[in-house]
Every structure is written in C-alpha cells, then in structure tokens.
C-alpha cells in the first residue's frame, strides 16, 4: 500500500538500520548506549510505517505534549521538531532550508519551525491520524499548527493544542492539567484508544525511575573533569522524552549510563584529555555541534558540561491518583521541558537555573548562542548578563542559527569564541 509521506520515512529507516550495523562494531560502552537509542528510534519508525500502512492510528506533534500520555495510550508518534536532529536528516538540512525559503517561509522565523512546516509541505512526513501541539514557547510554535492546517493534504487532520499558562502557580498547573485531560479526550475520540489509568501509572512510575537516574547522571557530570561531552545529555533527553518514554528499556539505558559514568568518575576520566574550560551552553544543541565541539576540544580544551537539553530538573510524579498524575504531568510539561521551562513564563527560573548550574557544575563561562529563532530568550539577555556578572563568570552572546551554519559561518563563530576566551583570560 502506498501512503503519502512514507517514502522518506522508509529511506530514513533504512539509513538508521545501516547506522546501527556500523555502530555495533564498536565495543565502547558509551557507543553501545548510542546503539540502543538508535534502535529505539528505528523501532519508532517501524511502528509508524506499519501503522500508516495498516491504517492504524498514529500521531504527529510539535513539541512538549506530555509524551507519557501517548505512551500510555499506546499511540506511536513522531515529533516534527525532532526530525531535523536525526542523523539521517543532517545531509539534507541546508537544501531543505533553501527549499523552505523558496516556498515563501519567512527567514525571520525559527529555522526549526520552518523545517517542520516545510517537511509537511514537501510531503516528507506521513499523514497522521491527528496532530497535537502546545500553544507556547515561541511565536513560531504558536503558528505551526495553523500553517500545516493549510496544507491541502493536512487540512482534514484533526488538530488539538494545549494552552500553556504564563505562571507556575497551583492555578496554572491545574489549568494545564485540564488541558491535558482535554487532549486525552481528543485523542480518544480520533484514535479509538482509551486511556487506562493503571497503564498510565505504569508509564509514569517507569518514567520517574528514568528521571531519577538522569538526575543521578547529571550529578556525575559535576565531576572535574566532566566524564562526557554534551552529546550524552542530549541522548538522555531523547530517551526520556521521545523514544523510550516510560519504557523499561529506557530505564535500563539510564541505569547503564549511570554505572558507566560512575566508573569513569571513580577513575578520574574526562571526556577530553586535558579539560581547561568548563562551558555552559545556555540553549539547546546545534545541528552542527560536532564540528564546533571537536574544534573547542582540540583548540581550547573546552568541555560543554551542561546545556538546556541535558539539564534534568524533571518533576517526579506522584502516581497515587489520576489527579496527582495529571497535575504532575502538567508540571513536567510546563516547567521542566527545555525551552518551555526557561522562556515560557517569568524570568526567575532562567535566573535560578543559571545560578545553580554555574555554581554546581563549576562553570568557567556561559555562552548564550542567541539562536535567531529564540527571540523570547533573546529578550532576557540583559538579565543573563547581569546574573553572570554577579556570579563573576564571563558571558558571551554570539548570534547564530542552530540549524543553518551559513547564517553565521563556522569560522566567524570560532573567531568570536576565541577572542572571548582570550579576552577573559580563559585560554
């Protein structure tokens, strides 16, 4: 059966399969964890392809939609904003950005959002049973669902977006918990699935174990030298929030991660041989990270000890009742997920996170990359700079695109960083 949008998905699946075979040659325990994650991504692709071909329900979402609920409903899903991060997407990114521009998508809009809309427009993603989103975080995500609803193939796809209140008060959490309940009703109506509260409890209990182990792992990242590069933190996020949500395989993944890392910390092994600068990258990771991080490592002895994606402030949810679970999910979805946490509401979370990470992780400098799409966070640069000044830690704002390396060239980024390190006496 030919299903629109599946062709690229199948290509990606085959490429992932090939990647797994390649990775499996390595005996390194860290690499084995990467293999386990890629296998989980592959499983997800297979589930979506099978669902599309067999006419079974599956979901597309934008970002931060309490994935525990989807796992409990046994609904496969793909996340539009996650696709560009997959290794299979990387070779096409620049062409797809150009394609989005030719299609008329404004270049002042976050590139990640543009890529998401363009993937829909270009028919590179399969038509889901329903689409869910979150009305928050940035101007782009607020419009994403409206943009894709105009696509001729997607205009019949039911859409539901939860509203995200500004504050973190009890009232706000209750409000968002109700929004999540409405989202569940919407999903039940359009997919024919029913939420089993006991199954939700199982998923949440398993996810709690994952977040507790992730927090343990992050304690280990405080060690000097830092045991891993920032990439492992991003993988942790992919496991807990995307590909092994409330899944025992994910818990085992984290258990192994902690064991491996404890061993490294006990032996004093760092991710780089001679760690000189401990950097806090105060944003999500860039697609082109490997190119810059390798240079940072070799040229300046820099380890990115923490970034937004790797930070794990996740709420452990009380699974005792349906109400406590929905409230806990609301809190996790609103107050913990990267970017939504830092820029959705008042700036005190951003201030506290900066203070805590700098102090606990013995950070030598903070880099706010100033991604062109993060206008919400960009508005708080003055606050970030003041906080860093009070903490006595150098702060750099660059101005770049986390997805398009032509926006600010790699050479220019390296030059800015080098001058900063030199001027601050960090080199």
């Amino acid at each position: 059966m030919t299903v629109k949008g599946l062709e690229r998905f199948k290509q990606d699946r085959d490429a992932l399969q090939f990647a797994v075979q390649g990775f499996e040659q390595s005996q390194s325990p860290e690499r084995q964890l990467t293999v386990a994650l890629v296998k989980a991504i592959l499983d997800n692709y297979n589930r979506i392809i099978a669902s599309a071909e067999e006419g079974k329900p599956f979901i597309a979402n934008s970002y931060a939609n309490a994935p525990e609920l989807l796992a409990a409903l046994n609904l496969p899903w793909y996340t539009l904003s996650q696709i560009p991060y997959l290794p299979t997407s990387e070779p096409y990114i620049l062409d797809e950005i150009d394609e989005a521009e030719r299609a008329g998508l404004g270049t002042d809009m976050c590139t990640l959002i543009r890529l998401g809309i363009n993937n829909v427009e270009a028919g590179r993603v399969p038509l889901p049973t329903a689409f869910i989103g979150l009305l928050s975080l940035c101007d782009g995500t607020n419009m994403l669902h409206q943009a894709i609803a105009h696509n001729k193939d997607w205009h019949n796809i039911p859409v539901f977006c939860t509203d995200a209140p500004y504050l973190e008060s009890e009232r706000s959490i209750d409000f968002h918990a109700d929004e999540l309940r409405r989202m569940v009703s919407f999903l039940e109506e359009h997919t024919g699935r029913t939420l089993d509260v006991d199954r939700l409890r199982e998923v949440i209990e398993e996810s709690n174990k994952q977040y507790e182990l992730w927090a343990e792992y992050n304690e280990l990242r405080r060690a000097v030298p830092c045991p891993h590069s920032a990439a492992k933190g991003s993988q942790a996020w992919s496991v807990a929030q995307n590909y092994m949500v409330g899944d025992r395989r994910g818990t085992e993944w984290f258990r192994q991660l902690v064991d491996i890392t404890e061993q490294r910390v006990s032996e004093g092994k760092g991710s780089i041989p001679n760690e000189k600068i401990r950097l806090f990258w105060f944003d999500i990771r860039a697609i082109w990270f490997p190119e810059v991080t390798e240079w940072l490592k070799a040229e300046w002895g820099v380890c990115i000890v923490m970034d937004m994606t790797g930070y794990a402030p996740y709420t452990l949810i009380d699974p005792s009742s349906e109400e406590s679970m929905f409230k806990g999910l609301a809190k996790r979805n609103l107050c913990d997920v990267p970017m939504v946490r830092q820029v959705r509401g008042t700036a005190d979370t951003l201030i506290n996170d900066l203070m805590m990470v700098v102090k606990d992780y013995k950070i030598d400098c903070v880099v706010w990359p100033a991604h062109m799409g993060h206008k919400d966070g960009a508005a708080s640069v003055g606050i970030m700079r003041e906080v860093c000044r009070d903490l006595g830690v150098p702060f750099l704002q660059i101005g770049l695109d986390l997805f398009d390396k032509r926006y600010t060239s790699m050479d220019e980024i390296k030059d800015r960083i080098s001058k900063f390190f030199t001027a601050m006496g960090l080199g």
Partner: protein, 263 residues
C-alpha cells in the same frame, strides 16, 4: 519590620505543635563566632572542600529525596533579637542514627542583622545552595529541592546535624558580614511533619519572588514581562504603567468595598 517576621513567629508555633505531638526535639547551642563555629568540626568547611561528587556507593544516607519529602527555605530579618544566635533545632533522627536511610528533610535557615535589607536577599538565597563547601556533604543539583547526601567517610568522622548547622552558620556569616544572628531548624521526623512547613514555604517563596522582582525592577528589568527586556527601552512601557495603575486602583477599590461590607 521585614516581610518575613510574621513567619518567624509561625515557625515557633510549628515547632511547638511538633513537641506537643511528642516528636523528638533536640536543641543544640553553638558558638557564634565564625572561627569558633568551625573549630573542632570533623570535616573541612570552605570553598572546594567537599571532596567532589558523592557516588551512590559512597553514600551513608540521603536527605530530601522527593519520595521521602523535602522542604527548605530561608528567612531574614533586620531584628536580630527575633533569632536565637547559634541555635540548632533538630526534630527527628540524627545522621549517625540513620545509616543507609533516605530521610525526609526540612531545613529552615533564619538570619538576622540590623543592616540586612533587600540588597542582601539574592546573596542570602543563593548561599543556601552551598555547592562544594562542606566536605562529605553534597547537595544535588536539583532546582526547588534540598536533596542531599552525606558520605560514608564523613559519617565515619562523626558528621551530624550539629556539624551541618555549624558549617552553614560559618558559611553564611563569612559570606554576609551583616548577619548578627543565625538559627537553623532541621526536620527529619516524617513527610507528614513537613506539610505545615511547606505551607509556610509557599508564602515565603511568594515574598521572596516579590523581593526579587523589585530588585530586578530597580535594575531596569521586569522579570514578569513576556518581553522582559529593559523597561527603559521598551516601547510598551506606557501601556504597562497604565495597566499597573488600573490594577492598583481596582485593588484599592475592592479593599474599600470589602471594608465597607465587613463593617
């Protein structure tokens, strides 16, 4: 009078209630000078004295795991006599009595100094998270929770809540010389006993948030603003000012209406 003074009184009531319930309450009176506070402590206290990460296998006990319960906050006053300088109150079991345990953890720090004001608020708040300053004691890097570990080595040397309380007093008094008096309360008895403390914490947090907002406003930033750039350069400032004025007038009006209705 500072905004926290009323809650210092509430804390006294809270302790009294727990005594009445028959909880084990221990009071320890420590010296008050920084040099005396650290004298004879079984562990080192000072920047980078923690000795690094405490691994799970090296842990003697955990305090404040979310499942066990955790609540921590700080209050300050410009009336030092409200604080009993050098006093540590422990409600519940002490560290050496609980090997391998995961205890609920309440920690309240109260500091007083005639010169203390909103200018010291951020410094005092930040100091609660002492990072690497106490050997054998690690506060986990989890926001809004005081979740910590005591190492086997430290416990073996005699680390207990008196050690922790004295170390905290020394750290605070060194960092903020305006502190004239400091008192500490630790609660480890049960999660249930932390509930009233959490209610006080909620109100204290709100006061703290308001103070923080005022401090940033004085610097020219509104941390509650969606745009949150410098108000001085924001084109919407007149709109915000007008909304604030409307809110102020409404509050005043509803207060008047309520007073009239009550009388």
């Amino acid at each position: 009078m500072t905004l926290f003074d009323a809650y210092i009184k509430k804390l006294a009531d809270y302790q009294q209630e727990l005594r009445a319930k028959g909880r084990q309450v221990r009071e320890i009176y420590c010296p008050t000078e920084v040099s005396e506070l650290t004298e004879g402590l079984p562990v080192r206290v000072g920047s980078q004295d923690s000795g690094g990460i405490i691994l799970r296998g090296d842990t003697f006990l955990e305090l404040g795991n979310p499942e066990a319960g955790s609540c921590a906050f700080l209050m300050w006053t410009d009336k030092p006599p409200l604080i009993q300088d050098g006093k540590i109150t422990l409600i519940g079991p002490d560290i050496p009595e609980s090997p391998g345990a995961s205890l609920p953890f309440g920690q309240v720090l109260m500091v007083g100094g005639a010169g203390l004001g909103e200018g010291e608020h951020a410094l005092l708040e930040g100091n609660q998270f002492i990072a690497d300053q106490i050997e054998g004691y690690m506060i986990k890097s989890v926001s809004q929770l005081m979740w910590s570990r005591v190492s086997r080595d430290a416990a073996g040397k005699g680390f207990n809540f008196e050690t922790l309380g004295r170390a905290l007093m020394a750290i605070f008094k060194s960092a903020v010389p305006k502190i004239e008096a400091m008192e500490v309360i630790f609660v480890t008895s049960s999660k249930e006993d932390l509930q009233p403390l959490e209610n006080i914490d909620e109100q204290v947090r709100e006061i703290s948030h308001n103070i923080t907002r005022e401090i940033w406003q004085a610097k020219g930033y509104d941390i509650e603003c969606t745009l949150s750039w410098d108000c001085r350069s924001c084109e919407y400032k007149p709109v915000c000012d007008e909304i604030r004025e409307v809110v102020r007038v409404r509050k005043k009006k509803s207060k008047k209406t309520k007073t009239a209705a009550d009388s």
